[in-house]
Amino acid sequence: MFEKALIGDRRYWGLIIALLAIIGVGFIIYLWQLKVGLKITGMSRDVSWGFYIAQFTYLVGIAASAVMVVLPYYLHDYKAFGRITILGEFLAVSAVTMCALFIFVDLGKPVRVFNVLLHPTLNSVMFWDMIVLNVYLLLNVVIGWTVLEAERNAAPPPKWVKPLIYLSIPWAPTIHIVTAFLYSGLPGRGFWLTAIMAPRFLSSAFASGPALLILLALIIRKFTKFDPGREQIQTLAKIVTYCIIINVLFFLFEVFTVFYSQIPEHMHHFEYLFFGIEGHGKLVPLMWVSFIGMVVASIILVIPRIRRDETTLAIGCALVIITTWLDKGLGLITGGFIPNPFDRITEYWPTAPEALITLGVWAMGFFILSILYKIAISIKEEVID
């Protein structure tokens, strides 16, 4: 099937070459980081995780959201999603690959990465996160590829793949729950130390992932002969709508507990993010854009007329993707470190090299996604013909 990725029109090759160029730039800058160390980033003694770990966290959510197309099809026999499960699974593959790369570029000693396997540490959440992410990657590669191959041969998928599919369903939320546990079990970080962290991760994941899937489906329909389907897009839209509403609610639950209890260790982080402390407030405008944007997205998506119109739906989905990214890919990690354990403010902002390495990893993800989608869609087109 892979040969399908090697035949394409000019637009396809243009995209591939553009992505490779961005990957190349990111890679060269990564080599520089490898040489001189992480000092080329904006991270510091106080904000010791930054953009890389934040992207990782956001993308685990995107990866987990594949379950939102797999579950209705396999557990509820919702036939319409049969057309697009492959899109969800391949999106998960590219997202998990980006997750692994973001962890890798964040390591101070990447050559020692296999120490995690050499000295398995059951009490470290990071060890478990590595396990669940890798298994999830494997599950999606195997399931996606096998089912697609069967579809090409106009045969039912082999029997052995069914148990793997059922396993992948609970496995998807697990990857994001374990990722939330990286943060929510740390005693000294009031911003993260809350049981709502995992539910918030899931709600924002199941809003942003399907939103991205809708945009991808619309793009696919526009540029290829394969139509993911109007009903499919509309069902996904409902999932996005309710998940973004739940996400706003979960956030407000946390705000209530934090501000009604008035416990400073929990309040200071929110104050920094949304109002700024002592003149430090780099993230304030973005955090408001994120929160207000999510509320606006919730309102417009809940109105049937707007949701049914695919143009306005696309705008709503873009809003969901951007606002959840600001929330998780920017505010969540930085906000947890500010103020620091000494109640002092050290601000964080990614540097240009850090941003370019980040962009390189994203390009890598979209490169993998383009190739996998090219294969999947070519086969779908073949079946149509």
Binding site: G37, L38, R45, D46, L107, P187, N340, D343, R344
Partner: protein
């Protein structure tokens, strides 16, 4: 490849000799004696069930504190990077309200207001940094010291996120150019690993108390918390002491008399 009988015998003969030599070496290595003695704690080593420190702030003045910091950073090859965002520090001064953020109040005793306190790794009895490390590069020794293996650390910085005391530093770049005078007795670090105070484990092994304690004129008390006759126990019996963020359950083993 074809070999005749003669060649075959030559090769096997040579291999046997090499094997015998190697085997003999292994016997030598495994036999009790010199090697074992080299890796067992020396008799002069200071040992304890639970090392702990008391910072007696009534005896600590800023000059003494600076001496403690200077000697620690000098003997442990701690670089002086100068940039507060990237600095490495094992022991340093923090104003009272920053070292004890929960204790901030409008009418703190004047002698405490803004007064710098010495801070270092608390060598917690229930250390969250150890709990989160994915490679066991940081671990708690039986005597309570929270150690760091800079050769195993992958630089993921999970321990820095987990430490509620900001005790850990990361080498954002190569630290070596920033070490004024290298102490050949102690290793320097590479870029990309985390480091922190180790209660002078290398000095304890030689029978010496931690360097900061030695130069503190009695303002830092160090000893075995499990021994009722130790100096730390005596000091804690006769003075009211506080610890940083005890409500987090990490059970810090650095006590403050303020």
């Amino acid at each position: 490849m074809d070999i005749n009988r003669r060649e075959f015998l030559k090769i096997t003969g040579a291999s046997t000799i090499v094997g015998l030599l190697g085997g003999w070496k292994a016997v030598e290595l495994l036999a009790p004696g010199e090697l074992e003695a080299k890796y067992l704690p020396k008799t002069e080593a200071l040992t304890a069930k639970r090392w702990a420190m008391v910072v007696d702030n009534k005896k600590m003045d800023e000059k003494t504190a600076k001496k403690c910091i200077e000697i620690c950073h000098r003997i442990h090859n701690v670089p002086d990077i100068g940039d507060p965002k990237r600095e490495i520090k094992w022991i340093w001064l923090e104003p009272f309200e920053n070292a004890f953020p929960g204790q901030r109040q409008e009418h703190t005793a004047e002698r405490l207001n803004g007064k710098p306190l010495i801070v270092l790794c608390n060598h917690c009895d229930n250390p969250p940094c150890v709990r989160v490390c994915p490679t066991k590069a940081t671990w708690k020794r039986e005597d309570g010291i929270v150690m760091m293996d800079q050769h195993r650390c992958i630089g993921c910085r999970f321990c820095m996120a987990a430490c509620p005391f900001g005790s850990r530093s990361f080498n954002w770049g190569d630290p070596r150019p920033f070490i004024k005078k290298k102490n050949p007795e102690y290793p320097t670090r590479e870029k990309g690993v985390v480091e922190k105070c180790d209660f002078c484990a290398e000095r304890l092994a030689k029978g010496l108390i931690p360097a900061c304690v030695e130069v503190s004129n009695g303002a830092l008390v160090f000893g075995d918390l499990a021994d009722p006759k130790s100096d730390v126990r005596k000091t804690l019996r006769t003075h009211y002491s506080i610890r940083r963020k005890p409500h987090l359950g990490t059970n810090p083993q650095v006590y403050y008399i303020v």
